[in-house]
Amino acid sequence: MSFTEWIFLLGGLAVAGPVIAHLLAKPRYRRLPFTMLRFLRSGQVESRSRRKLRDLLILLLRCAIIVLIAMLFARPLLHIRLKPSRTRSVYCLGLDNSISMAYSDGSGSYFEKLADSAVDYIRSAEDDALFNICALASGDWMQGLGKEQALAEVKALKVEPGSANVADFLSGLSRANRAEDLGDNVSVLVLSDFTPNTLRQFINVAEPAAVNRIDYEPIVSSKPVNNAAIADAHVVGVVEGKLTINAAVVNYGQAEQNRRLTARAGANQSDPIDINLSGNQRKNYQLKLDVGAAGRESSSLPVELSLSNTDGLNADDTFYLAVSIPGHEDINILLAGESENRLFLLKTAMETLPRTSSYDTLRIKQVPMSELADSDLDWADVVVSSTITDHLGNLASEIESFIKAGGRFVCFVTEALVPEAAKLLWQQDVLAALPGKCIRERTHIQPKPSDSQVSGVDHIAERSLSNYRIDKILIKGYFECEQHPDARLIWQFRDGFGFVYLKRQGSGTSILVNTSVDDSLGSLTKSSASVAFCRYLLGESHQIDEYCFTRDERVLLPISGGGRAVTGQKQFWVETCDGRNRRASVADSFLLVPDPAGIGWVKTLGKPTIYAGVNLPQGETDMTKPVASELAGVMDRVFKTGAERIVSEAEVFHDKKRRPLWKIFAWVLILLLLAEPAVANRLKR
């Protein structure tokens, strides 16, 4: 018998407690007058000895309970001597069928060499050996195979367009080990090109696997590696009907790459760009693809970037990038402040917006509040007011018409606020909240807006605002506001007062920001969150989206917003990279495709047609050869030979030589605990 957690056996020392108590305890007698002592006396000698025996038995019983508890925590194992049986040989093969194994140096692909090596290895094994084979790219295990079955499985194995997954292999190896008898001779063979990506995964393994023997073979070419790949690509924007794309091309080999890079979307093709890369060099190139009117009409445009000529590996020469190009709009923003400089910071932040990504073009005009006129409202799409003045109150009906016609009215408040004017605007249903008493107390804003479902704000900006430490920004004062019945409080101060109120009216929106731009919000507009905050206030923009995923990622496609709203549907049919039609579920206005099944295009079937490009993970086809000594060190660390296999609780249940005893101990303990009062009571009679 042995113990898994022997340290708990020290708990057995607690038996000293009852023993000492037994030794020290003195019986306390109650004095009682009696008459018939002669009838008691004859049984006295017998009872005293019996009492001692009884006390001893109860002591032993209680000691046994304590010892059993200690042993139970120590988790005892019973070693059983099994009849000697012949040791079986179990071979676990980890065969790398990731995309990098498709590399060919002219004398056959890496994968063909891998298959040959695996076949030789299997053939050299004993006839009654068992084989467990794991395809590293898919993580699939074929277990308990005979020799012929193993050979057939190796021959049927194909390269998968993905990365090798070492974690799946090792966890599967652990499971396979458990299924075998601990006396079996377990040998492991790993055949891979050990690209940096794969080797990194082996290096990151925390818990080594105990095996009897480990063999590995790096499948690499003796010649210099000839492989370039398009590692990444992003859309810069659309200028004059031309889509600008930045693409990163990497030479993953030693051979110099002189090739041409082209982008193609349907019938349109970009001008080829010459690529000249020396060994292991990375460069960014800009492509301009004419998308014209077709691009604007299409909700999602599939753009393929490809390298001309061929190298050792073709799979990474094409990059798939789906681009959504909505029509750009010019947004006229009118900043109405009490003075010229009042909204300076806000203006600065807004001017930054069109420069980021592909935001709509903003045209900003600034007027003093007192000069705000009807004609300005006619011109503007968005009116931003620094406070509420008499003049603004006089324009209440005009502003109401402006909002109803689809305008956006953003109003800040300061202590210079004119209550009568605010009342007028409130009566005209212009304001989302009516500012009341000014509270000059310092407060902080909640870290993020409270309602993510409300329409009229930019949800991307809302998410990005969560990344800034807005909750650290100190606000010096605010107003006690009465919320309009139709308005929603979309952001709060920490003390519960409203920060941003939003009201939809007609096809427009009115927003009240319950703080001053310069006194308090100055802190916010000075901060790095100011641009995101402006974007949040200005609402959704018409911007270019790109849908580009890697093979390991889940494909998420937006199916609402931008005029593509799809309501009521719980699932969509999509065509995945392997050309098959699969179901994709809808979750929170996103279409979720769990497995793109390769690299290439995923597209929705039916309207709206949305494309998503699926590519190899960056660096997957980095064919840098492993250093032999480093590889040996890593494999020695990951696979421990000669060491006793670590026995976990789950494994013990499958171990035929070691049986857990703690269940028996637990039952005995329960019985003893139940019996102790009854036994003690019985003995005391």
Partner: protein, 298 residues
Amino acid sequence: MRKNRKYLDPVFLSKLGNMDLVARCAVEGFFAGLHPSPFHGFSVEYSDHREYHAGDELKFVDWKVFGRSDKLYIKQFQQETNTTAYILLDSSKSMSFAGDGVVSKMDYGSYLAAALSYLMLSQSDSTALILFAERVIKHIPPRSRRTHLNIILTALQYNRPAGQTNLAGVLHTIAETTKRRGIVILISDLLDDEADIFRGLAHLKFLKHDVIVFHTMDHQELNLDYEGLIQFEDLESKARMRAFPQSLREGYRQRVAEFLDDIEKTTGNSGIDYCLLDTSEPLDRALVAYLSKRKRMM
């Protein structure tokens, strides 16, 4: 019945305090409970009829005879021969034992003695009371006057248990000193040498006394229902013994049963009435035993 039985409950009687009241309650409670009693009226026996004379009580007129003969006749009752009852109450220290702490064997014996005295004197029997321990402590000679009851009850009231038991010696003394034969009622816990006790009782029996033994035992003495560790101290000898009653209980009960069985058999063989009384039980068993004996004597 149940209501009246409370007057026989020793715990209830112990609360009365006054021995006269105790005796009255016990006896009248007993008869009320037995109504109609087969023993009622045994003290007077019908003997003859005589002619009615002026001044005779009308309640003694035999109306049935008047109905048949149209003449008034008086029923005459013959007064029974008086007997003498000797009540021997053990007053040794062991009689002070009260297992439940309310009614001691002494109390119980005193109530019984009082009730019996009341009963006997109401039947015009001469009643004597002998209190004893190692020797006779108090001897109240037999009288049949109703006022004699007061003397007996006062003696019982102020009697305190003391000394060791010497039952055999006392019985021999009484046997030798009593001149007239009668009913000897022994109220004792019989905690003495059994052979000596039997010899004393046999002596009384030899002198043609009718003997009734009321063996008063406490409930704890019979059952030993104590729990926990106890140091027992003998009331008479002051001997001590530590014991764990739970472990002794079975053997103790067995030995007590043997002891009681032995007494019952020996007394039965000698024609002595034996009545074991548990002090937790009402007095009526003792009274029934006495009255049965009294009836057999007539």
